[in-house]
Symmetry: C2
Subunit: 334 residues, 2 copies
């Protein structure tokens, strides 16, 4: 249906008749659409904030530190490094296509991107700042004061504005035009026979039961270790149960997106799987009770690598300098 | 002389007669010229390497961590944070216009940008990696292997190629077109009367004796605390003497560039001065034996802020993903 809307719009643009059939709707995965209804002023402001390390106590950590847009929107280490080199409890999920998730964080404790964005800033194990201190910093920087006023029309900067702007920027971080999406949209030679065989296996084996939709995941919570218990790191991680309080949700996690999965290693909530081969093997056994042969595994991995889309393409933002009254970061204070 | 060459080239381009007079040559500061003779393939490769955190042991620190190109090419904290949150011994100088320095590091121990680039990678207090391990990582990433081969025509990646490419990228990080340079190049209304008065004070008071040339500094070593001894942090910092072994060079430092100085706070080798007002005051007293009045100080600061040029303008590089054989970072291993 959504695809019809797009092809409708394109047909209108080029003056063609709208076709009523859409080949892609038969597939459990749909092509990523570019974001609609974006507030550009907010995006540009949010981009600056996303890269601004002054939102951290130390002055050196920004959203981009752990969700590095040069690296598939993640940090590619099992669990992140926080303020004073604290070890994070869980793998940093990619920010790419995160607007497509049903909720944010592995346990879904944030309803949306805006709710998520405030978390790490004030988390003592991550950026270790407070919302009040972050606002004090921003309010002391004249260029920010002007830009917030231009975008929000208010005289005062608020944390709501900050997280709204960051979320608006993050909505632009979708990765359309993967080879798989080209194939979905009709370019039948976009995938090799091997990759198509991998996709067929992905569907026939049941992977697609959880990894489906536009993000190939991100739209449900599922138990890690459905058939066999997970042997990885479970210490202090309770999953969705930490949000719902229900014992049935213990070790339930949001199914991660498989978009750009070639770039978002290591895998799982604990980052314990270094390679796609390993991740596919573990998922097959633990979730599906299926031991993929080496050949099957390789085919599925080949398919997964076709999910890498166009990465965000933008100019590195130049941040306005602090003023004489800007509170200075305290990287080495406890 | 250099400016004549440029105006000659411009005159040639637009078919005008070359003028033999050049207003700017009378001034002790000259306008920044865009880099000539740049190897573009090397620049693009070097840009990726500059942003690649896989050149660090932890997998999260890149050149851009401490020389942040969103923040004036520095980290804006007194001394940098290294691997395992180690506190660095000295303020990270800006990478902007560093190609104009007579040597690199505060003590000039690296002859050029290429010699500098290898330092932090292998410094246990900074990126804490080794050159061998860095090359192992790069060699395991097929897209890097191909790009190095395209640029250098060799089958093997070497640390010389890595540092050469990073240095080539850094050569592009000049900041022409500041309001001061526009004024130097003839736009007489580019500076206010107050800013021009500040420049006159800067010259007449003797600041310009050390802060001159294209980079407004960076071209000599000078003692910190010439008239009065410096009261800031001197612990473990010997300056140029550490390189030459001469006692006369104790506490001699490379004069920092004042280009973009509004963005490169805090100031001095120990980052002890938070504001330009403070830095100008200390410099006046310690180096020139002169106590600037509040009005004089403000005028000089106003002039200094006209030295902010066009910041590097480029697309955030997208880095090639690691392969299954890439050695994984070890952020939490000692």
């Amino acid at each position: 249906m959504k695809l019809k809307t797009i092809s409708g719009a394109i047909a209108l643009l080029v003056g063609m008749t709208v076709q009523s059939t859409s080949y892609a709707t038969d597939e459990p995965i749909s092509a990523i659409k570019p974001p609609a209804s974006i507030n550009l002023g907010m995006v540009e402001l949010g981009k600056k904030l996303y890269f601004d390390p002054r939102l951290s106590k130390s002055g050196i950590m920004s959203c981009n530190t752990c969700h590095n847009l040069s690296m598939g929107g993640t940090d590619n280490i099992p669990t992140s490094v926080g303020d004073h080199w604290q070890q994070g409890p869980i793998n940093a999920p990619t920010v790419l296509n995160s607007s497509l998730n049903l909720a944010q964080f592995w346990d879904g404790r944030a309803a949306d991107l805006k709710a998520q964005a405030g978390g790490p800033i004030a988390n003592p194990g991550e950026m270790a700042f407070t919302h009040t201190l972050a606002i004090n910093v921003l309010e002391s920087i004249p260029a920010y004061v002007r830009e917030f006023k231009m975008v929000f029309g208010k005289d005062k900067i608020s944390i709501d504005q900050v997280t709204l702007a960051i979320a608006e920027f993050e909505k632009t971080l979708v990765t359309p035009n993967s080879r798989f999406d080209q194939w979905l949209l009709g370019k039948k030679d976009a995938l090799t026979a091997n990759e198509q065989a991998g996709y067929k296996l992905f569907k026939d084996s049941g992977c697609v039961a959880c990894h489906n939709g536009e993000a190939v995941g991100g739209n449900s919570f599922q138990k890690m270790g459905l058939v066999e218990p997970y042997k990885g790191n479970t210490k202090g991680v309770e999953g969705r149960a930490g949000v719902t309080g229900k014992d049935a949700d213990r070790f339930n996690f949001k199914v991660p997106t498989l978009r750009n999965v070639e770039m978002t290693y290591p895998y799982f909530h604990d980052g314990a799987a270094n390679t796609l081969t390993e991740a596919v093997d573990v998922m097959g056994r633990l979730q599906l009770g299926k031991k993929f042969t080496q050949d099957e595994n390789a085919k599925i991995v080949a398919f997964l690598k076709t999910l890498t889309g166009d990465q965000p393409n933008f100019t590195l933002p130049i941040l306005p300098p602090s003023s004489d009254t800007t509170p200075r970061p305290t990287p080495f204070a406890k």
